[in-house]
């Protein structure tokens, strides 16, 4: 065996976890809820009562209490009478008055694997990504940050669930749907059952039925930049890339390096679409503002476009700048100077 492999063997033996290290990890797993007793596990497996169960139970108990004659009790002293009335009032209040809605508060975090949650008996979640759960059992609210979230809500159970992303607000009363969110994609809501109402940040309310989807595009210049870059990577049509870049440039937060990058992408997309005059004007305006992001790439594009639009005379100013560092530009400039090229 070579010396390298023997070294790896020795390293493998030297890095074998010690029993103390394993015990420490096991203790921390126990603190986090693993290794429950069989009794605990069976308790956790019992189904929670549904609101329908509770309502029926309360109603039945209230009726039974109403049938009990109070006169059969022996006369109470004043103090005991007040205490008895207070106790009865408390019981009636618990039975008749609606109980406070259970408050929900939980971080939903699973970047690597799919996780499932059932925060109430009417709501089931399955997700790979991150977000947070708040609100109450009857009005849960999920703020979804990134990744894929699948939601199922039992209909006709008086649950009003809202999912919010940066781009969309989804209102649900009984359905099954999926929300996928990423910076470049924005938020996509796909409905498999029932109907949901979706409000994209820059648009009005849309009802989305089963089998349909609604795309809520990015709401920031950075999001549109990410989308434009993603489209470029996927070799999407230049028109789509151009639309993303121009939409991003119109965002109020389009400034600095993000705006420069979007500007460069727009120029390249215009050139790809054959809109040479427009692309050249944009490139020269970009270079005139002193932007450094993708300067060389934009200048080379300007050279190519200028030669098409106006020949060597038009391209010369750009060639003279590039020639200092680009041998190909230098030889092109020399050819223009000699009159070898139009």
């Amino acid at each position: 065996m070579s010396r390298d492999l023997r070294l790896l063997q020795d390293w493998g033996r030297a890095t074998q976890p010690t029993p103390a290290h394993v015990r420490e990890v096991a203790d921390r797993l126990q603190d986090r809820g693993c290794f429950g007793s069989p009794a605990e596990a069976s308790l956790h497996g019992l189904p929670a009562p549904t609101p329908h169960d509770l309502t029926r139970t309360r109603g039945g108990l209230a009726r039974r209490l109403a049938d009990l004659p109070l006169a059969r009790t022996r006369p109470l002293r004043a103090g005991r009478r007040v205490a008895a009335i207070a106790a009865v009032a408390a019981v009636v209040a618990v039975i008749v008055l609606p109980r406070p809605d259970r408050v929900l508060s939980e971080r939903l975090e699973s970047p690597a694997d799919w996780q499932e949650r059932a925060p109430t008996s009417e709501v089931a979640l399955r997700f790979q990504g991150s977000g947070s759960l708040s609100g109450t059992a009857h009005s849960p609210e999920i703020t979804w940050e990134t990744g894929r979230l699948e939601v199922s809500v039992l209909p006709e159970h008086d649950v009003h669930l809202v999912v919010e992303t940066r781009e969309a607000r989804v209102i649900v009363t009984g359905t099954a749907f999926v929300v996928e969110r990423s910076v470049a994609q924005g938020s996509v809501v796909s409905v498999s059952q029932g109907t949901v109402e979706v409000v994209c940040r820059d648009e009005g309310l849309t009802s989305v039925g089963a089998g349909s989807r609604k795309d809520c595009p990015p709401v920031s210049a950075y999001g549109w930049l990410a989308r434009a870059l993603l489209l470029q990577d996927r070799h999407a049509a230049a028109g789509e890339v151009l639309a993303s870049a121009e939409t991003g440039l119109k965002r109020p937060d389009a400034r600095g390096a993000v705006a420069e990058e979007l500007g460069a992408i727009r120029i390249l997309a215009l050139a790809d679409l054959g809109r040479d005059t427009e692309a050249l004007a944009a490139a020269e305006a970009y270079l005139g503002r002193g932007h450094t992001t993708r300067e060389d790439e934009v200048r080379r594009t300007a050279v190519r476009l200028a030669r098409v639009v106006g020949g060597c005379a038009r391209a010369r100013p750009h060639l003279e700048v590039l020639a200092a560092t680009d041998p190909e530009a230098a030889s092109l400039l020399a050819a223009c100077t000699r009159g070898d090229l139009p």
Binding site: R13, A14, H21, R28, C34, D113
Partner: protein, 192 residues
């Protein structure tokens, strides 16, 4: 295959049928292996204990999803791999809060062992992930090519190919990190 003679799988079928005690036994039986993978494949920026805990949580909560007991070793390795990838992605935050303390680094009495282990780890970090996995599983952990192929869900020939490329990459990386193959790493001391 590996798990046909692996005594740890004795409790696997009971655990899959819902026996909590068997599930606990299964988790404890695999924890040393999982922790070893986290220590060797996580890299210097990942806290192996944290990553191993996360794998344990996944095993504890998702064991019921396994349909084929024969696939369990490969399943738990894939879970470990994905958890480590997530920890590596989050590790950049630790640039700002300080390095991860390595409680299991060499003591002051034996500084060389820790330094050598870290050099080997730093060397392994320089080679592609798939080749690193093959080298660690076969040479550092002593698995056969067939066992490694089963764990990774690939063919034995692919494992051999990754080992071949990995050895070349390791030698090249060792020259860059100054790792001398003639150094010897002492065996780990027995735990108190």
């Amino acid at each position: 295959m590996m798990d046909s003679v692996d005594p740890r799988t004795a409790s696997l079928r009971d655990a899959l049928s819902g026996d909590a005690a068997a599930a606990e036994h299964l988790l404890m039986a695999w924890l040393p292996e999982v922790l070893g993978w986290c220590m060797r494949l996580g890299g210097p920026k990942v806290d192996a204990s944290d990553a191993a805990q996360d794998v344990g949580i996944v095993l504890w909560t998702r064991l019921h999803e396994i349909r084929d007991p024969d696939c369990f070793p490969a399943w738990i390795f894939q879970v470990t791999r994905r958890v480590l990838a997530a920890h590596r992605r989050r590790a950049w935050i630790r640039r700002w809060v300080g390095p991860v303390p390595n409680r299991y680094a060499a003591s002051a009495a034996a500084p060389d062992r820790g330094d050598l282990s870290h050099r080997v780890q730093a060397t392994l970090e320089r080679i592609p992930t798939r080749q690193r996995e093959a080298l660690v599983l076969v040479y550092a952990e002593g698995r056969t090519v067939a066992e490694t192929a089963h764990l990774l869900g690939i063919s034995p020939n692919t494992v051999k190919s990754r080992l071949r490329l990995g050895r070349l990459a390791f030698r090249e990386a060792a020259e860059a990190t100054g790792l001398d193959p003639d150094w010897e790493i002492p065996a780990q001391e027995a735990a108190p």
